[in-house]
Symmetry: C2
Subunit: 527 residues, 2 copies
Amino acid sequence: MLLNILLLSLQISLLGTTLAGNILIWPGEGSHWLNVKVIIDELLKREHNVTVLVASGALFVTPSSQTSLTFETYKVPFGKERIEGLIKELVLIWLENRPSPSTIWRFYQEMTKINTDLHMVVREQCDGVLKNGKLMEKLKSGKFEVLLSDPTTLCGEIIALKLGIPFIYSLRYSPASNIERHCGKVPHPPSYVPAVLSELTDQMTFADRVRNLISYQLQDYMFETLWKTWDSYVSKELGRPTTLCEIMAKAEIWLIRTYWDFEFPRPYLPNFEFVGGLHCKPAKPLPKEMEEFVQSSGEDGVVVFSLGSMVKNLTEEKANLIASALAQIPQKVLWRYKGKKPATLGPNTRLFDWIPQNDLLGHPKTKAFITHGGANGIYEAIYHGVPMVGVPMFSDQPDNIAHMKAKGAAVEVNINTMTSADLLGALRTVINDPFYKENAMRLSRIHHDQPVKPLDRAVFWIEFVMRHKGAKHLRVAAQDLSWFQYHSLDVIGFLLTCVASAMLLVTKCCLFSYQKFIKTGTKIKKG
Amino acid sequence: MLLNILLLSLQISLLGTTLAGNILIWPGEGSHWLNVKVIIDELLKREHNVTVLVASGALFVTPSSQTSLTFETYKVPFGKERIEGLIKELVLIWLENRPSPSTIWRFYQEMTKINTDLHMVVREQCDGVLKNGKLMEKLKSGKFEVLLSDPTTLCGEIIALKLGIPFIYSLRYSPASNIERHCGKVPHPPSYVPAVLSELTDQMTFADRVRNLISYQLQDYMFETLWKTWDSYVSKELGRPTTLCEIMAKAEIWLIRTYWDFEFPRPYLPNFEFVGGLHCKPAKPLPKEMEEFVQSSGEDGVVVFSLGSMVKNLTEEKANLIASALAQIPQKVLWRYKGKKPATLGPNTRLFDWIPQNDLLGHPKTKAFITHGGANGIYEAIYHGVPMVGVPMFSDQPDNIAHMKAKGAAVEVNINTMTSADLLGALRTVINDPFYKENAMRLSRIHHDQPVKPLDRAVFWIEFVMRHKGAKHLRVAAQDLSWFQYHSLDVIGFLLTCVASAMLLVTKCCLFSYQKFIKTGTKIKKG
């Protein structure tokens, strides 16, 4: 396996010497940026010139000192705090109204509100580039060959089309898989493909399937209304009547940030590549002091605990509740936490402002991972085969944990309702029941046993689009059909009309013959 | 690119040293066997023990002197001539009734007849193994880890299940994609995925889409009736009530013998691998005499002509017609033909009993390929970027040529109605119009530019199934649903009933209130 990976890296890196192009990046925020940054670093290694378009008010996307990477900063009328505020609001909505049959309506109402705000921010970003003549001129003269865009932050596709270059999407999913389904034309049968945010799996009861279908419809309704507001903007920018969906469909390749170790198998199209876990890599040695703490755990090993980069602190009550549960396990705990030290913190638990998460998860002493369920963190756990306790909070996190639960690699604890005993019980289960470790290892084996590593596949297809100026041979003809043509409704309607007409004709003929026969009979009788 | 391929081969071959298992093959006939043989050779190179189950009456699958390959011959009550006869009959049906709106009904009637005969032969093959207790015992003790089966020759799946081992399919397609759609659960929207044998492309007019939908329905009807006859056989063999489709759905991986250079993009599932052209390889030098003939063509180059391995001769009239067309082009022609030398044969044309087709197509002097349109030959032309004149005769050939025509790499000539001028015109077009060469080269570039070569991918997934004892993580949950559950008909029915009930209730309430109101009004008036 190692030899496999080594040789492939060698192959890809050697191939790279034959290519060097100009690549433009339209990044997303938060973990989306962290993920695309890994692709960027690989592209830089392969000697491409990469330029990132970054808003002056961006939160995570910050120009680094990396000299080989160009940041093109454009002005926007908002600051970092605006994004930070929206994220906080988003987390709050989720914590208060996490979708369940009783809260679903309120949840989607709140989500529509905050999404409207988010779209306003994106619109301002979009204006920041498109209405900046000087910047657009500079970009035009930049001779870019491809644009890599995150479609959850719209506008990348408009910029690409205005520059006349092909674009590639990198995404985990869109609400109701709306973009993938309606623009990308990927079939998502609601009978076994769970709607995103629904926390359902591919094994659904009748009631689940009812809920799933409703989830699709609700999300479609909520988000399509929002996306529709972009149609006139896009048409104006491109100088012809069009829709957002129509231009999104022009994505040459869709790099999806999952794989079948994590995702439930479902239909997809030839221009979809599942590159989940592309950021994963073998663990590096830990800092000396941390290694000593880990080693001090002896046979019991350690537990790694992080709620991700977006949520920094918890309420004091919640922190104490968690700390007291952690204090009761024989394992040592490394907790990434910036808040006030909880009073109940046990001697086995150490707080850190930041932890080398991947290196810790890859450490042989690591027994379990307490995670908020971000896709990046889950993938690191899968990569290293570590079972999880999920404490999901918002966005795709509850869904991600539902996936890991269904695959037998995680136990979930509800952050709103949990007690110390719940967390303790969950931890003991994933640590002591071999079922969870076995499943985590199974997923790890699946992840490692691919013909080509996810990062190499992502880079391959980006370079493919550069070499061939697109990937039109992978584009389904469905994208030229209207929705009723796509579903063959016109053909079915026509055939039903034919059948009905034929039946009518036959009935008329029969009736006519019958009447003729009756008349003739009467005449004969009379005669 | 070359470096890419070299390194990948190195990687795969090195990986191979870590594995060596026992593989059982249930082969198809004709070109199916030629294709699977390439996979077998690669598996042998990787030191696996491969055993092929071969019927005593097999036509193409003949035990070779290859010592590393084991042939397990089982007795069947038919001889080679039976298969030969059926193939002749099949070609004749096609030549006389090639599906068109006017002949479609007769065509499917004839096809059903011959397919019934073919299934009888397959049933005899199946009995030859399953009812041979000694052979089954031997196979059981053979410790096979996987069975590679061609589902157009049924029974491989039954043998695998009886031996308790996973199985993999290798196929081009089944009629109406029936197996892939109904058993494999791959969505085939009839609005843009042309039915096999329909000769339609992914760009369809309304009339085409009507024809396509009807093609699916007709083929479904004809072939499902045939396949249904297997349900009781399968149930009896496996000792439990089941269906052929249910057990076919258990295929771990589906190796499809096409790729997006040849196929129109369409939805598929994670356990489908498109390995078209896995048999293609760089050209080797030609035999001395042949090379001299090719070189003698000078600037004009040569045309390669073969109607494949299944059709050996033509009528004298047809052969003369073809020869006289060939005599009029400035190119030299190499014609694989075993029949009587046509009187009109020009001095530029040379007949051969057999030609090294791949080496000729890869020769820099080759300008065009006249082909019957077999998938193997077409892939060799794609690999080497040679434009084609298609003279399709039966089975998938008309469809294959339709694909190449749509992709701009071929011109078709109808073997039934063609004149010398037709063939001459077609040849001149593909040779002199750069459009065809450019498209053939474009397909060639697409074919060569894949992250992993088709043959390596095929072998990777076979070995994956051996390493993991299956590939269950790629299996869609749709396979546990009935057809009405899959299409959410029960859920839609339930929701419609709910809506109808709610409407009824509201109407009743309104009516009741209204009557109450009227009554009260009347009482008041009366009062």
